[in-house]
């Protein structure tokens, strides 16, 4: 009994310690990057943003198409298929675009970040950078953190746009919903601040959390091949769970009173 209690205490302490370390890490990493940082930042936006574009665009299109298909089947029962545009746009902007993009981001970019930084740690590249007199937090971590914060919201916009266009393709071109009412129901119900900006705000929060988890897991891992593989898994699992949990909290705060 005492043994289990002390183990519980040990685990709690360890968790708190790692949490504290990660917060210090975030604060240190967010200080603006070094000289020539813009170039490093661009390279990282390319790596985690531009290269994630294909998977985001393809998933967005298909999710928009499926939404339109499913929505049509339900709405046509009330002969309210004109509201299809509203339904597709609302579900994409408020929920699906920020959440699904963040999940894809954790899988595609997050795991790559963790593995890359972990490998740099395992091969002593981070240590040697420190010995050269360059702070790896500024040189390696900061550009990656900022690139993540910038890339995910942009990817979310792409996801929403192609999702709505995919919904348009299925709803209007294939199922024959009148194009004018597709757009007009959408326009009269979607509010720029309430829906679009709130969705973007969600995405900014997700960007912060997912990138933070990915980069910290890479920086803090045990520098062995097993340690890298475990940290990569942790990035995807923790990242996805954090996105889903935060999504509920944010949704309750933003839309709960309606």
């Amino acid at each position: 009994m005492m043994h289990q209690l002390s183990r519980l205490g040990g685990v709690t302490l360890k968790t708190l310690e790692s949490l504290g370390r990660s917060v210090i890490f975030l604060v240190m990493g967010l200080r603006l990057p070094v000289r020539g940082g813009l170039k490093l930042l661009l390279a990282q936006i390319h790596f985690i943003g531009v290269l994630s574009l294909p998977i985001v665009v393809v998933s967005g299109t298909f999710i928009g198409m499926v939404l339109a298909l499913q929505g049509y089947v339900v709405l046509v029962g009330f002969s309210a298929e004109e509201a299809l545009g509203q339904m597709v746009a609302m579900s994409l902007l408020r929920e699906l675009a920020p959440v699904v993009t963040a999940l894809l981001f954790a899988g595609r970019a997050g795991s790559a970040l963790t593995a890359e930084i972990g490998l740099m740690k395992a091969t002593e590249q981070l240590t040697s950078m420190e010995m050269i007199g360059v702070d790896p937090l500024k040189r390696v971590i900061a550009p990656r953190l900022w690139a993540g914060f910038i890339s995910l919201p942009v990817l979310t916009v792409f996801f929403s746009v192609v999702g709505i266009l995919g919904g348009y393709l299925v709803g209007v071109d294939w199922l024959g919903v009148y194009s004018g009412s597709f757009w007009s129901t959408m326009q009269s119900s979607v509010m720029f601040t309430d829906d679009i900006l709130n969705g973007m705000l969600k995405s900014v929060v997700f960007a912060l959390v997912v990138t933070w988890i990915a980069v910290f897991q890479g920086y803090d891992l045990e520098p062995t091949s097993e340690g890298i593989s475990r940290a990569t898994t942790r990035t995807v699992v923790y990242g996805s769970l954090a996105v889903l949990g935060l999504d509920f909290i944010l949704t309750a705060l933003m839309f709960g009173d309606i």
């Binding site: 000289r35 091969t123 002593e124 240590t127 040697s128 950078m129 010995m131 050269i132 007199g133 360059v134």
Partner: protein, 276 residues
């Protein structure tokens, strides 16, 4: 404190995850000389270099480099001090996303405002010094182990440091690249008057280049002296190490509580403990 010593280590104690690695180590590293730190594997020689570089903080004791306490410096001051130090890592630790040229140019780019043409010249001079000017366009993944270490050496001396630390420079090298590295270390010391610390357990090579040798074991300095003095040292632990005898004061067997006979008769439950 002696002016002729670049590095002074006093009463250094350090423990990691409950294991005492150093208890009261005293070292002094004279300017312009090659000092070797030797000892069996697992005695924390690399840890000692990390303590000297300020990457780890000791439990007690001090490290002074050029009369400044390394562990009392603020982070920016420490980083400024490290520009005067070069370190050659065991794995080379080249930045895998940069070419050989860019790796060597890296310290120059981040610490100086030199124009591009000058950075190019300086980089090529360093690469020429290690004999790899022709390889400047290669990526680190295309290099052999010996070449990696030579590029890392060129990078470590890019800023012409006062102190250069070699972490196991001879491990895993074929005889030719071993010879090349020995020659380079000696040349750098003589031509540029760089103070060198060589951490190694390769006795033959180390004794040929070192001016002074410390042997560390069980967290303490066990012996010190010039290579000649060490070769004639009578202490059985030192002579076991220096002459590479398999058994002696450092036992061949990992310590165990049970006798071999009992272990054999006990059955099949020994050694089954897996990673939980």
């Amino acid at each position: 404190m002696n002016d002729s010593n670049l590095v002074e280590v006093a009463d250094l104690s350090f423990s990691r995850s409950g294991r005492q690695i150093f208890s009261g180590v005293n070292l002094s590293i004279p300017r312009g000389k090659i000092t070797a730190i030797m000892g069996p594997s697992g005695t924390g020689k690399t840890t000692l270099l990390k303590l000297m570089g300020g990457q780890l903080t000791p439990d007690a004791g001090t490290v002074h480099i050029a009369e400044r306490n390394v562990h009392r410096l603020s982070r920016p001051e420490l980083f400024r001090m490290r520009r005067r130090m070069g370190m050659l890592f065991q794995s080379g630790a080249l930045f895998s996303d940069l070419s050989v040229f860019e790796n060597v140019a890296f310290p120059l780019r981040v610490h100086t405002d030199l124009p591009e043409s000058m950075i190019r010249d300086l980089t090529l001079i360093k690469l020429q010094a290690v004999g790899l000017r022709g390889a400047n366009h290669l990526m680190p993944s295309e290099l052999s182990g010996g070449m990696t270490r030579r590029v890392a050496l060129a990078r470590a001396i890019a800023l012409d440091p006062d102190l250069i630390m070699y972490d196991e420079p001879f491990v895993g090298q074929d005889p030719i690249s071993m010879g090349v590295l020995v020659k380079l270390i000696r040349q750098l010391n003589q031509a540029f008057d760089m103070t060198a610390v060589v951490v190694s357990h390769d006795i033959k090579e180390t004794l040929t280049i070192a001016d002074y040798v410390y042997v560390i074991s069980d967290g303490r300095v066990m012996a010190k002296g010039t290579p000649d003095e060490l070769a004639t040292e009578q202490d059985p632990r030192v002579s076991q190490f220096v002459h590479g005898e398999p058994d002696g004061p450092v036992p061949f067997h990992y310590p165990t509580h049970t006798s071999f006979r009992n272990d054999m008769l006990k059955g099949s439950d020994t050694g089954k403990r897996g990673r939980s």
